[in-house]
């Protein structure tokens, strides 16, 4: 199954963070790529949402939708920046 981009996770990201996060810039902990979450790669369907770095494939972030809330983890993000253009 080919990947799709991080825009497909917009709804889950918004539910988790309480705001649109597709334009937020993340810094990949593996390759230092600085890019909006919208450009991350998303495979699936899966048991949860898993965002991967478009440049190196590193797992940036996971979200699991559970009754009553979302369980999130950001094992591959050194930084996440919601300023316009991610502070660039």
């Amino acid at each position: 199954m080919p990947p799709i981009d991080g825009n497909a996770a917009a709804g889950t990201l918004a539910a988790f963070f309480g705001r649109d996060m597709t334009a937020a810039h993340g810094l990949c902990a593996a390759c230092d790529q600085h890019a909006p979450l919208a450009e991350a790669l998303l495979y699936g369907p899966a048991a949860g949402t898993a965002l991967h770095c478009r440049t190196c494939g590193n797992l940036l972030m996971t979200m699991i939708e559970a009754p009553g809330g979302i369980i999130g983890a950001m094992p591959g993000l050194t930084r996440l920046d919601t300023r316009p253009a991610g502070g660039v």
Binding site: M1, Y43, G48, A50, I64, I71
Partner: protein
């Protein structure tokens, strides 16, 4: 007016086999959190790595030369679907673990593509787990974890790791990919252990 209660007849055959919160499917949904690795059987091998660092490795040919099992089983995905009467072929972990000296209590499967999942070593013994290479009489397709996947059908199916490369035997439990992300550490479908701390 008399109140008439329904006679108790027990649960039907389907509900006896369907864990709580699950829905029966006849399909076989493909779930993956990352790219699908394509591993040729010529390059494939499987390793048991003990807690002392000893490695036992089987090539594809060596695995196929071992005694083969044909488990017929129901499977249950944490996302809510269950599939009855699936047919597999593979090698029981009992046969592979018999070659290994270990005092480990835990295991972590690791896979091509980087996926991991953990479970107590006891859950890999006693005819409960296989390295499965065949589904419904045909080689296991890559999208379902071929050439071979771990099959541990008494736990939610994320524990039945696709594209399995090896299993680390561990003194201490090490949560895997979805367990770290928030799914349950053990994942018993009959106790509906879906999420962390359920």
């Amino acid at each position: 007016m008399a109140v008439i209660s329904r006679g108790f007849t027990g649960r039907g055959q389907t509900s006896n086999r369907l864990p709580p919160g699950q829905t029966l499917t006849t399909g076989f949904p493909v779930l993956t959190a990352g790219p699908t690795p394509h591993v040729s059987t010529a390059d494939w091998n499987f390793t048991l790595l003990t807690e002392t660092g000893t490695e036992h490795t089987w090539t594809w040919t060596e695995l196929r030369d071992l005694p083969q099992d044909s488990p017929h089983t129901d499977i249950h995905c944490v996302t809510g679907w269950s599939k009855f009467d699936t047919d597999w072929q593979g090698v029981s972990l009992d046969i592979l673990l018999a070659e290994v000296e270990t005092n480990a209590q835990f295991a972590q499967a690791y896979c091509h593509g980087g996926y991991t999942t953990n479970l107590p070593l006891a859950d890999l013994r006693g005819g409960q787990a296989w390295i499965a290479h065949t589904f419904d009489g045909a080689p296991l397709p890559a999208e379902h974890g071929g050439p071979a996947r771990l099959l541990v059908p008494h736990l939610y199916f994320w524990k039945s790791a696709k594209w399995v490369q090896g299993i680390r035997l561990l003194e201490h439990d090490q949560p895997g990919f979805w367990e770290r992300a928030g799914y349950h550490n053990y994942g018993d479908p009959w106790r509906e252990q879906r999420y962390w701390n359920d």
